[in-house]
Assembly symmetry: C3
């Protein structure tokens, strides 16, 4: 793939400053770029890398200053980057729209039109796969599970019995939907398994990362709302509800029966206890621990997550703590001196 810089500037609706005849053959970050690459500066932190980059040209914002390299100035460089990604996206093989001879599909399964089932994928009894959906090698779809239209299940994804997946859902490799919830009752002999007869339901337009675990409900369903996005290695326990358009970053865990509202942003490695309710549009910082109900629009962070401002104040105080100890020690000495002096006054009648 190659385009002239002029052609790219036109495609992006940007203003070209430099040689429009330059031939661009790829897109890359400043550090990795090679001659022929168009690179980009969308974050001031990276400006210092411009000196060393081997890129042939740069995509920059409107207000970007002069530069030793040809630049394309765009009002919205982030969106221009998306257009660039489309231009330079490597061709992908079209799905075959067929069931490979080395796949195993139960006779009672119902497949829509142009479904692709690749080798070593398995589709169980009475499962349904919607039109044009693609099952990569090693995918397992359990009995009575239902996958909507235009879904992509990447290699080795496991969708267990009776799990329901909407349309246009993408699940990355190695994720598991519908394993039993983690529940045991203590009995004299040890731990007795609590049966989980519910299921998982994933609404339309959800994307789920790699190596994610979403457990089935005890009764009813664990629910991933329409348009939610879940990153790699996330744990979603039984009976959790993730709201519509909510994003959960990598390695976060959500314990059983918790409800997360719509349009929330949950950072990476956060932990959310069970049986709570997080209001819509809440922001949970990376690594925050949330243990109580949270009203909509909250901003939480910290090991014991609290509202952003309280926590900031406390953290600032914490950093002054060693000094505070010294100040108190000094105060004690001074008060002691004052008391001693006072006592001395009393004892030696100065007056």
């Amino acid at each position: 793939m190659s385009f002239t810089l002029q052609a790219i500037a036109e495609r992006l609706g940007g203003v070209l400053d430099g040689d429009g005849g330059l031939v661009i053959t790829g897109v890359s970050g400043l550090q990795d770029a090679r001659p022929g690459d168009l690179s980009f500066v969308t974050d001031a932190r990276y400006e210092k890398l411009i000196e060393e980059t081997r890129a042939s040209a740069l995509l920059v914002g409107k207000e970007f200053g002069a530069c030793r390299l040809p630049v394309i100035r765009c009002a919205q460089p982030e969106i221009a980057l998306e257009v660039l990604a489309e231009c330079f996206r490597p061709a992908r093989a079209e799905p075959s729209g067929q069931v490979d001879a080395a796949a195993q599909v139960a006779a009672s399964a119902r497949l829509g039109a142009a479904v692709t089932v690749m080798p070593f994928a398995f589709v169980g009894d009475a499962a349904e796969i919607g039109d044009r959906s693609v099952l990569f090698p090693g995918v397992y779809v359990g009995a009575h599970a239902a996958i909507g239209a235009d879904c992509v299940l990447h290699p080795n994804v496991v969708v267990l019995d009776r799990v329901r997946i909407g349309a246009r859902v993408v699940i990355h490799a190695g994720s598991v939907l519908g394993a039993d919830g983690f529940g045991y009752r203590p009995v004299p002999e040890g731990l007795c398994k609590i049966e989980h007869i519910g299921t998982v339901e994933v609404e339309d337009d959800v994307e789920i990362g790699a190596c994610v675990a979403i457990d089935r409900a005890r009764f009813g369903r664990t629910l991933i709302g329409r348009g939610a996005k879940i990153d790699n290695l996330v744990q979603v326990a039984h009976n959790v509800r993730v709201g519509r358009g909510t994003a959960i970053a990598a390695q976060t865990g959500v314990s059983g029966s918790t409800t997360i509202g719509d349009a929330c942003m949950i950072g990476g490695q956060a932990g959310i206890v069970g049986h709570i309710r997080i209001g819509d549009r809440t922001l949970v910082a990376a690594r925050a621990g949330v243990s109580k109900d949270v009203k909509e629009g909250s901003i939480l962070y910290g090991y014991h997550a609290r509202q952003h401002l309280d926590k900031k104040r406390e953290d600032a105080a914490l950093r002054r703590l060693p000094k505070l100890l010294e100040r108190v020690r000094e105060l004690e000495a001074r008060v002691r001196a004052l008391e001693a002096a006072r006592k001395a006054d009393g004892e030696s009648p100065a007056d």
Copy 2:
């Protein structure tokens, strides 16, 4: 599946208050319930949801008050729920008890009676699989590994060479038992791999979640004790011992050579350093970090986990810290004033 409310009340040994002829077709939480469902209130937190539920009837505790819906009152609603789960459990296909033609089982492997090996499962040289055990698609059992009787290995589970699994063990999808421990010696050229020639041993009645990693020992074995329960995405490093009947919640990590006692409860996202010993019946809170030996019966929580009560006290103090800073600042001013006054007294001979 459907039962009259009367039949269910009898089955649960509960007291019916309402129309016993009502036909119940499912069980669900208050929020998800549809007409025909029996729902349940086992936690006072959820009582406020009763007004809005579409459930047709409720399972409640003995002391539960009046209600707009028919109710079944039970002395132990949690156990009644287990009985309900059994009544309404969807039928599961019986395992075939056979090796599928699309599976691959080494000629030297020894399979017990009625073992089910599903398509694309692989059983290595001299591996043993006990009676009635089920290997789902994509399961890998390495050479000389041994799986006991009545085990279930869900799709894409990997049990590597020489790993030993007891009877009635369930391993959920995507988990890996017996990868090499993470050990390297620094040498001038970089990091030199430390060989791990030991194995993993899992005793009877263990359940292991999805996407769990349990590494093999350097020498000897990593041991998961009888009846232990391990949740999704947990890391168990080389040479760890998990005690009998111990439960470990999701995303927790246990570093190398640590011993966890019997009947412990470890919360989610906890971290336990290597080479320590945690006594029996210890409770470790979610997200706690444990870095020292702990005697039996301990209750630990916090980023630097300490005994529960100490930690509670410290956390309470922490919340007062910003205020404390102000108090000390004020004290300093007052002491300064006292000192100045005193000095003035000394200088201007008032007497």
Copy 3:
């Protein structure tokens, strides 16, 4: 396998103290050892286990004292252990060097000499696999991906399209390289996927644990430097660079576009935010949270990771906080008393 103690002592270059004719049949830790086993004491913490061990002999350091068991004294017991591991390593089957009939390799893929592709492994269009590399069952290698020579991809590893892997790379079971980075743009309708057209590049001599997720770059590449070692369940986001010889322990997460230097040691469950730069030879403690650029040679720990010594000081202060509150309360009372006395002095003209 069995050797006399004498033979082992010679092989290890150690000094034998005891019956050289003793036959040793295995190596094990003190707790697990059985008669016939050689055990070892390389850490003083474990000395107390010697009394109870059933081992027949011990490998110890030069300075180790008298002992009830035969011992071999070695100057470098850690290295002697490596030699022992080699002696007692169970035989492993040689890879077949062939493509199994139950594997699926695209006609356009290029395989080097003596490549082993086991059953149910899949190699996509135009993929390359280097000489002598081994693909275990369930491995997926995407289109145009390239694997170097002498690599081992354990069962169910997924290497997606265009990912490039160097020579002598080991990837443990269930890991996923090249899933899309987690990036969305908020738009009025919800979250719009940001395309990730870059790739992952893994240099020579890297080892990657089980259930690891390494995402592909938006543009360019996510890079794992030569000789880096990554433990189980680690998350490496899009466009991250991990330096040469750097080790990252289990369950750590590295957010997008961060650069980690060479020869760093990152503990388990650490979290590193996006877009920062961690200098060479930095040590990050287990569970530390790193949110800022860090210069080379740093030692970081804590929830808000800071330099080791500052943090130690702050933690010590934190433990005194409850007591500090009491001291301030007491100081306040004493200052109040002093002020009252002073006021009384002023009111009752004592002079």
